[in-house]
Structure formats: C-alpha cells, structure tokens
C-alpha cells in the first residue's frame, strides 16, 4: 500500500520524461495517437492508483495516515529534509480531484488539441503539471511542498504561453508567473521564519511545535507570510490580476490549472496548516476578509466581461474567495468540500466553453454568440448543468458546499456577521452572472459567429463532459469526512430562515439578470461602472503606474551601471592628467629651459620663505 504513494506522482512524471526526451532521439515528431496514449495513460494510471489507495485504505478508516520516505534530500546543519510523502483524508481528496479531473481533461484535450503542431509538447507540460501538483499535496515537508508549488507555477507559465508565436500570450504568461512569484517569495520568507523559530520544516513536527509553544508575533507573522503565497497562487486580492490574463492558454489548460487544481493550492496550503492559522485571530480575520472582498469584487467583474473565458476566470476568482472566506471563519471542511465541487463544475464549464469556442472557430466574444442551444444541444445541456451548480441551485453539488460555507460563516460569529452577508451577496451576484452568461451564449438572437457554428465535439470530448456533468450533479453526496483531519465538532445548524435566504439569493440574482439582459438592445459598454468592473476594478493600471513603470524606468536609467560610471570617471581623469603632462613634453629646448629656470626660481623662493 505504501509504495502506491510514490507511484501516484511518478507516473505522470514518467509520462513527461518519455514525451520530452523522445524529441532528443528522433527527428520526427511522435504520432499523435502514441503521445495521447502515453500522456492520458500516465494520468489515468495515477487516477487508478489514487482510487486504489482510497478504496483500499482510506474509505474504511477516516482517521489514518499513510506515509512513505523516498530518501534524503537536503541535510545541512539543523535542516533535515527528506523526500517524504504522506497522505491523510485531506490529501486523498486532493489526489482524487487532481488525478480524476486531470484524467478527464487530458482525455478532452486529445480531441481539443488534435492537429496542433505542438501536440507532444502540450501533453508533456500537462503531465509535468499533474506530477508537480501531486507532489504538492503529497509532500510531508514544506520545502517539498514548495517544490511542487513552484513546479505547477512553471507549468502554468509554459501552458499560458503555449501558443508562443503571439507575443501577447508570452506576456500573459510572464505576468502570471511573476505575480505568483511575489506571493511565493512571501511564502519562502515565511518558511525561513518558521525554520528559525521552530527549527523544522516537517509539516507534522512543525505544527506540533507551534501548537505546543505558540509565540506571538511569530505565529501571526508566519501565517500572514504563508497567506501571501496562498493569495498569489489562488488569485486572491491583491494578487488576483494574473488569472484573467492567464486565459490566453488553451481552454483545457484553463480548466485544469486555472480552475480545478493549481489555483486551489492556496486553499490546500491553509487547510493543511490550519492549526497554525487557527492560533492567530488576526490572520484568520485577514483570510476571511480577503476572501469576502475577492468574492464580491470578482463577482461584479464577472458580470461585466465580454469574453466567455474571462467571465469564467472572474467567476473562478470569486469562488476561490468563497473558499478563503470559509477558511477564515474556520469552516475547513466546507472550504475543501467547495474546492472539490468547484473543481467538478468549473472544469465542466470551461470544457463546455472550450467546445463552444472550438465550434465557433476560436471565437470568444460573447457579443458574437447567442442562440446556440439549438445548434449544439449536448454542449448546452452540460453547460446548463455546470451553470446550475455554479449558481448553487438546490440539489446540485454547488448548493451543498456553498450551504456549508454559509452555515460556517453564520456559526463562526454566533449569528449574523459581515462575512455571512458577503456570502449571501456573493451568492446573489453568482446567480446573476451565471444567468447572464448562459443567456448570452445559448439564448437570444444569434450573433455573427453563431451562424457558422459547426459542432466540434468528438466522442473523446463528449465522454469527459458527460462524466463531469454527472460528478457536478452528484458531487453534493460525496462530502468528504474531514472531521478527523480538522478535529472539528459536529455540523453547524444555523436557523432555517438563513438557509431560505441562501436558497433564494442566487435564484433572485438569476431572475433579475435574466430580465435585465434579455433585451438585446441593452449595451453594457455604455455604463462607466461596467467599464470599471470589466477592467477588474483598475488593479492593473494601479500596478502598472505604481510598480511596473517605475521599475522599468529605473532599470532603463541605470542600464549602463552607475558604478561603472565611477570607474570610467577615474579612467577619464587619468587620461586628462596624462594629456596635461604630455603637453609639457613638446620637444622644444627653450620650453624645457624656461621650465627648468622657472622651477629653480620657485624652489629657491620656497627655500627662502620657509
């Protein structure tokens, strides 16, 4: 059973190596079929292994852990790091989501990327991503977690810029990597601090040490620094700006990395280190506040977007805000539950959007869509399922997880609180933008691109869509039993009327949006507010003016290195001096005689005076 742990990340890694190294030994590109078998097979086997682990061990015994040591890594002074893997229920949930959803998206990609000249490179990156993500959740020390953390960041970078001929894609990729790297640096500093204070980076030992001897302000500071990393990776305020631009990547990539898995790494990190966060009220409040603000701001932005993928991107940021809100109020299980259901329905929405985009010949503008429900009924059906879950209509998976979060927010402050209100408002906005999206794409008058729509779904794309739709619908029944991991009490029981409000809010939002956006004459771009929201509340411009431009300007100003100027000054002075002295050596005898005489006089005068 133990060996299986190692197998899970190593299988996709082997797939990556096979795909990448094949280029060195053969001049011809490998056939698409072979590439697909290797890549999809590797992730499929990893998913099977995870499932074996789940059914064979964890299903029966929720409180247990499995661990495996793959040998020493770094061993210097007080620092002892191993390649240690460990799995508890939280890990297993993540493993199943990553490898399961990952497998379905790989499968879908085979159809989506068919005929692309870089088919092999695409799947190599995708396999590497899955491997890194699995390492991230399996790691039993924070440095190994950081390895996976940076690894997924790299793959995200590579896949956003996958279509490299367009420089804009490369720019979006750099932005994504840099913004998350800022968070990662905070995370690294947090690790340094924890190591200095507690002398270990093993997750288990560290949490024991911290809870045994919590020292302020170290705990709060460390929690906030770690939160910096989580905020960057999970695209929360104030580092959320990279995610909408990250939509430059192929759509299945957006589904896998920028919706289902990588962006949830921040949620995972906080859930994994929840004893540390729970010790600091300040850190918890900050987490919840960031979550609530992000939830509302991104929700409003989603309402104003004109690009189908950007709507989904802002929606993802907003939903991640829900998870942070849940973490901040201590509803750990609810956060992870929502992480899971969100992975199902958001991956479904992205993949369905991918089918729409492919069928419209890479058209993403909402204005050119409309009336597609007749032309692509299957895609419409699965998209509608995803939308219902996203809006948290009763009995869908999204409903259960969102209810859990709202109940947690209610319980945390023993009644009404701003966090709960933000959750309800968020639900309202979610309903609104979901309805708007569904309306703009599938109903109403046909747009200019709708007329030449050719359903591009192949069997290999339909199957994952269907399975994800089923998961999204039934996911509510799969609430993972995480009480053991988070050592929390029973489920919260908020009063009935709060539940009714929570049910009504999204429906109300959807109805209002439906009525508002149904009239085709309505132009969103007229409103200043809509423009502001579409630009993501102006964060990009602020950063551009405050950080990017001054940095560029300074760097450009100093590109010839001011220190070098100093040395050049010395060199220049010597040259000048040399020039002056060589004037005196002009070969004229009378000049020499005159200077000798002058010097003699000067010397005598000096002697006399002194």
């Amino acid at each position: 059973m133990h060996g299986l742990l190692a197998l899970i990340p190593l299988l996709p890694l082997a797939g990556f190596l096979a795909l990448i190294l094949s280029a060195l030994f053969s001049r011809r590109e490998a056939a698409e079929g072979l590439v697909a078998w290797i890549a999809v097979g590797a992730v499929g086997l990893a998913a099977l292994t995870s499932a074996t682990l789940f059914f064979g061990h964890f299903l029966g015994s929720p409180g247990t852990e499995q661990s495996l040591d793959l040998g020493a890594w770094i061993n210097a002074g007080a620092l002892q790091l191993d390649f240690g893997l460990s799995a508890d229920w939280l890990t297993v949930v993540m493993l199943l989501v990553i490898s399961g959803v990952g497998f379905l998206i790989h499968l879908y990609s085979v159809g989506y990327m068919r005929g692309d000249g870089d088919f092999r490179r695409y799947f190599a990156y995708l396999n590497l991503f899955v491997a890194a993500m699995l390492v991230l959740v399996l790691a039993d020390n924070l440095v190994l977690l950081y390895l996976g953390w940076e690894g997924v960041g790299l793959c995200s970078y590579l896949l956003i810029g996958f279509w490299y001929r367009n420089r804009e894609n490369g720019r979006a990729a750099i932005k994504a990597f840099l913004v998350t790297r800022i968070g990662d640096t905070a995370l690294a500093i947090g690790l340094f601090l924890l190591f200095r204070e507690y002398g270990t980076l093993q997750i288990g030992e560290l949490l024991d040490a911290v809870t045994a001897a919590p020292r302020e302000p170290v705990v709060t500071l460390a929690a906030l620094l770690l939160l910096g990393g989580a905020v960057g990776k999970s695209a929360q305020l104030p580092l959320q700006t990279w995610l909408p631009d990250a939509m430059a990547g192929p759509t299945p990539v957006s589904a896998l990395i920028h919706a289902a898995t990588m962006v949830t790494a921040g949620v995972y990190l906080i859930a994994r280190l929840h004893p540390l966060f729970a010790l600091s009220d300040l850190a918890m409040t900050v987490v919840a506040t960031i979550g609530a603000l992000t939830l509302l701001l991104a929700g409003c932005s989603a309402l104003a977007q004109t690009d189908i993928k950007r709507v989904l991107a802002y929606s993802t940021i907003s939903q991640l805000g829900y998870m942070f809100l849940a973490l901040g109020v201590g509803a750990w299980s609810a956060a992870v539950f929502h992480l899971m259901t969100h992975a199902f329905f958001k991956a479904l929405l992205f993949l369905a959007a991918g089918s729409v985009i492919l069928s419209l010949h890479h058209e993403q503008a909402l204005a050119k869509m409309g009336g597609l429900y007749r032309r692509m009924p299957f895609t419409f059906a699965v998209f509608a399922v995803g939308s219902a879950c996203l809006a948290a209509l009763p009995l869908t998976s999204g409903f259960y997880s969102k209810e859990a979060i709202l109940a947690g927010a209610w319980e945390a402050r023993h009644g009404f609180s701003l966090f709960w209100l933000a959750g309800i408002l968020g639900a309202f906005i979610t309903g609104a933008y979901t309805a708007r999206l569904l309306l703009k794409v599938f109903f109403g008058a046909e747009g200019s691109a709708s007329s030449h729509c050719a359903d591009a779904n192949t069997q290999v794309m339909r199957l994952p869509l269907l399975l994800l739709a089923l998961l999204a619908l039934a996911g509510g029944l799969l609430a993972p039993p995480l009480q053991e991991v988070f050592a929390s009490g029973g489920l919260p029981h908020p009063p009935l009327w709060t539940i009714i409000i929570a049910v009504v809010a999204p429906v109300l939002g959807a109805l209002l949006a439906w009525l508002h956006f149904r009239r085709p004459s309505h132009q969103l771009s007229e409103s200043v507010l809509a423009h502001f929201w579409r630009q993501g509340w102006g964060f990009d411009s602020i950063y551009q003016w405050l950080l990017v431009r001054p940095f560029r300007w300074l760097a450009h100003l100093n590109r010839n290195d001011i220190v070098d100027g100093l040395y050049n000054l010395v060199a220049g002075l010597s040259r000048q001096l040399h020039g002056l002295l060589s004037i005196s050596q002009n070969g004229q005898l009378r000049w020499y005689l005159a200077t000798i005489a002058g010097g003699l006089v000067l010397f005598l005068v000096l002697v006399v005076i002194l």
Partner: protein
C-alpha cells in the same frame, strides 16, 4: 599526483601550437586528450586515497586533514615551498574545473577559426593555473598561480574576443591586477608579522594559520585579501569588469570565466580569509553580507535592463554570486553549504547559457535580443535548452540553483532577517530577467534574422540546430543540475569538512573571546606516494 596534474596541463599547453602546426585541428584533440587524462588521474588518485579521509585529528583547528599533499622546497631563502594539498573542497572544485574545461571545449569545438594552436595553449594554461589555485597551500605559490591563470585569460579575451575586446581585456586586467597587488602586500605583511613573532620566514598556510596578530593588523590584512577575492567573485562595487569581459570574451572564455574563474574568489574567501582572520571576518560580516545582498538585487535589476543577451547572462552572474558572498558570511552551516552548492549550480547553469548564447552569436552574428525572437519554431532543440537553463537560473526547485539559494537564504535569515528578506527579492528579480530573456529570444514570430528564407521549413543560411555533440554536452550539464537539485548530499558531504574548518575559527571566537592557543608549528608531511 597534484604536481603531475598541473605539469601535464602546462606542458600540454606548450605542445598545442606544435601539434596544431603539424596537423591543423590537432590542437583541440590534444586538449581533449590532456583533459581526459587529467580527469582520469584525479579520479584514480582520489579513489585510492579517499578511504583514509574519515579519520580526523583532534586538534583540527590547525591542520585541515588533507586527502593528499605534496611539498617541495622552491625558494628556501624565503621559506617558499611548492606545496599542494587536496581536500574535499579542492577535489570538488577540481572536478568542476576539469568538467567545465571539457564542456567548453566540446561546446565550442569548431568555433575558433584563427591561431588555434595558441588558443588551446592559453586554454590549457588557464586551467593549469586554476588547478594550482585550488590546491596551493603555500601563500606565495597561491599568488603565483593566481597570476598564472590571469595572463592566459587576458590573452584569450584580447586575441579571440569580439568587437571591443581590447578595452574589455585591459579593464579585466587592471581590476584583477590591482586587487591582487593588495593581496600580495597582505601576504607579505602576514609573513613579516609571523617572522617577527617566531623568527621563521615561511609562506606555509598551516604555519600562518596558527600565528597571532593584533586585531587592527588582522583587519587590514583581511581587507587586502577580501578585496582581491571580491573583485574576482565579483561583488558590488567591484563587478564592472565582468559584463565587459564576459561579453567580449570568446565563448569558451566566457564559460571558463563564469564557471570556474569566479569560483576562485569564493574559494579564496573560504580557504584563506575566514581561517586566517576569524575575528576580523566576524567583525566584517555585516558589511560583506550587505554587499552580497545588494549584489543579488542590483545584478538582477541590471540584467533585466540589458538588451544584449550575453550581458544579461553576465549580470545574472553578479546576482548569483551575491548569494555566495551572503552565504559565506552568514557564518552558519546551512548558509555555508548553500553558498558552496551555488558555486557548482551557478557554474553549470551559467556555463550552459554562455555556450548557448555564444552559439547563437556565432550563427546569427548578433547578441541583441531585439533581433532574435521566434527561435522556438526554427531551432527547437536549442530553444528547449535555453528554456531549461533559464528556468534553472531563476531557481526552480528540483534543480541545483534552488537548493543553493534556498539554503543561503534560510541560513542568512537566522543571522540577519532584513538582509535575507532583501536578498529574497532577488528571487523575483531572477524570474523577471530569465523570463524576459526567454520571451524576447524564443517566443514571438520569427524575426528577420531568424527566418531570412521565405519558404517555411528551411532554415536560413548558416543557421543550424544543435548537433549531437552539442546537445549531449548540454544534456550532461542539465542532468547534473537535476542531480544536484535532487541529491545534493554527496556534494555537500564532500565539502563539509572544509566548512567545519572555516567555521571552527568563528565558533572559537564566539565561544571563547580569548585568542586560541597556538599549537607548535607542525612539520608538513611529505607524501611521496602521489608524486611522480
């Protein structure tokens, strides 16, 4: 054995022009043969000697336990001896030297077009000088080798360099020469002080280790050494020779400079400055750490501002070597280990980047990234390697550079949190310049330079993707980086005794303020077993 190693390379250098004259193209084969023989010699000897290295003498303060040493009288009038010794640190650096020598040779196999014989002669002499620097345990001999490696390097830049080679070579020479004169003064003063105390004139490392100096004198002498090594490293504000020298040097020269020559500075700090002047180094540590941290960030910002790809890589070296300085002066094992791993990781990744840039310049006749772009579609293999080493350079976990930088920062944080946090900004800076380089050179539509032929598929005149020889050499480097990233322990274990020695003095300072007792000057054992 060590003497034989140096003699082999030095005399081999003398023969290179003759062989080249007899048979054009023979010079590089001779160089290859000599380097391979040197590798075999080194590995063979160490395999024979290493079992004995487990035993450590109790009074380990004074005498580092050498794996092997040679000591012959050279100028007895002044107590100067030809003394070489080998320990784990030296061995690892020698291995790096020879491996990088081989790599640079293979990566630029047919790029040298004129005066080939003399080129390979200088090439071997530089390497011989570096081997001497890494093994000398007589301070005069050390200085001698320090100069020996300088002159051929100067010639490599001045004769085979690019457009502004003369200015760059002069700049390189003035910086290193001026600073090494300071070191010479410090060495002589050191010997003189020792002579006044004991009445014995000696340049021997171990004798000088145990002599006592007044704190003021020690501080000034320490500064003399420090400046020489900081110029070589290079650290702010002595770094400005490096971008010019790197950019103008021929590709093989750039590789040698980046991969090995810079390491002699760090080696000097570890081998001489810290053990000879423990108290003074301790006092100086905050300044040195600050210089290191500033180098990290300043180098990264400058690298970002460059449009010349080779200059960008050169400034990234300044940034990376700043981590070494920071790690060495943090005075704890974690950071120190990180600094040493950085020597190797930086050597490998930067050598590979210089090889790749040099190759691009060789074929595109430009280093300006504004004229590149879209290389990925025309030269996929080369681009993949550029991407790999750029990513290594920005410190991706799993590769050697990450282990190094993480350990340095982790250790330095314990000593000075603000400086470590400041240096950690270099992690962001590295990501900026590395990714901007990738973006500007590899991505985007193919530029005019890259696709001069209109028909797709055919490469423009003279532009070829990596040959088997080239990609095998690069792959070896890439795999070594992965290995260091995942299994740094062998490397870290081999340099661990040297670290203990370097830190032992500091611990003595911190634990007991009284100056340590002076053991009697130990007779150096002459190990004849390894000599020819």
């Amino acid at each position: 054995m060590l003497a034989l190693l140096i003699a082999l390379m030095a005399t081999g250098g003398c023969f290179a022009p003759l062989v080249e004259k007899a048979r054009p193209g023979g010079g590089r084969w001779l160089t290859l043969a000599i380097l391979l023989a040197a590798c075999a010699l080194l590995l063979g000897e160490v395999a024979a000697f290493s079992p004995t290295r487990g035993t450590q003498p109790l009074d380990s303060l004074a005498a580092p336990d050498w794996w092997q040493q040679v000591s012959l009288p050279w100028i007895p009038r002044f107590g100067i001896r030809f003394s070489l010794a080998l320990d784990g640190l030296s061995f690892a650096l020698l291995l790096l030297t020879l491996a990088m020598g081989l790599f640079a040779l293979l990566a630029t196999w047919s790029q040298v077009k004129y005066r080939c014989g003399f080129f390979y002669a200088n090439y071997l002499w530089v390497l011989a000088g570096i081997v001497g620097v890494f093994t000398a345990v007589d301070l005069f001999l050390f200085f001698f080798f320090w100069e020996v490696m300088l002159i051929p390097m100067l010639l490599l830049i001045a004769i085979w360099g690019y457009e502004a080679r003369t200015a760059a070579a002069i700049k390189f020479f003035i910086f290193t020469q001026a600073s090494s004169l300071l070191m010479l003064v410090a060495i002589i003063a050191l010997v003189f002080i020792h002579y006044r105390a004991t009445g014995e004139v000696t340049f021997a490392y171990e004798a000088l280790l145990s002599s006592q100096r007044s704190p003021e004198a020690a501080y000034w002498l320490m500064l003399g050494f420090f400046v020489a090594f900081a110029v070589k490293l290079p650290s702010i504000p002595f770094h400005t020779w490096l971008p010019d020298a790197h950019t103008q040097a021929p590709t093989a020269g750039s590789i040698l400079l980046a991969a090995i020559l810079l390491k002699t500075g760090a080696y000097g700090l570890i081998r001489f400055v810290l053990p000879l002047f423990p108290e003074a180094s301790q006092t100086f540590a905050p300044v040195a750490m600050a210089l290191g941290a500033i180098s990290v960030v300043y180098g990264a910002v400058l690298a970002f501002a460059q449009s010349d790809m080779k200059r960008l890589v050169a400034y990234s070296s300044v940034s990376h070597m700043g981590f070494v300085l920071l790690g060495i002066y943090a005075f704890n094992v974690v950071a120190f280990q990180g600094a040493l791993v950085q020597l190797f990781a930086h050597g490998l990744s930067t050598a590979a980047l210089f090889a790749l840039v040099g190759r691009l310049q060789h074929q595109l006749h430009t280093r300006d990234m504004g004229h590149m772009g879209g290389l990925w579609s025309t030269l996929p293999r080369l681009s993949a390697f550029v991407l790999f080493f750029a990513v290594a350079s920005l410190g991706l976990p799993g590769l050697g550079n990450f282990v190094a930088e993480f350990l340095v920062l982790l250790g330095a944080f314990g000593r000075s949190a603000p400086l470590a946090v400041f240096a950690a900004l270099g992690m962001i800076g590295a990501a900026i310049y590395a990714l901007v380089m990738v973006q500007r050179s590899l991505f985007g539509p193919p530029s005019a330079q890259v696709s001069s032929t209109p028909d797709a598929g055919a490469l423009p005149q003279g532009l070829t993707d990596l040959s088997v020889r080239e990609w095998l050499a690069l792959l070896a480097l890439a795999l070594t980086l992965v290995f260091i990233g995942l299994r740094p322990q062998p490397l870290m274990d081999s340099v661990a005794p040297a670290i203990e020695k370097a830190l032992a003095g500091e611990q003595a300072v911190t634990s007991k303020p009284v100056a340590r007792s002076v053991p009697t000057t130990q007779e150096m054992t002459i190990n004849t077993g390894g000599r020819p």
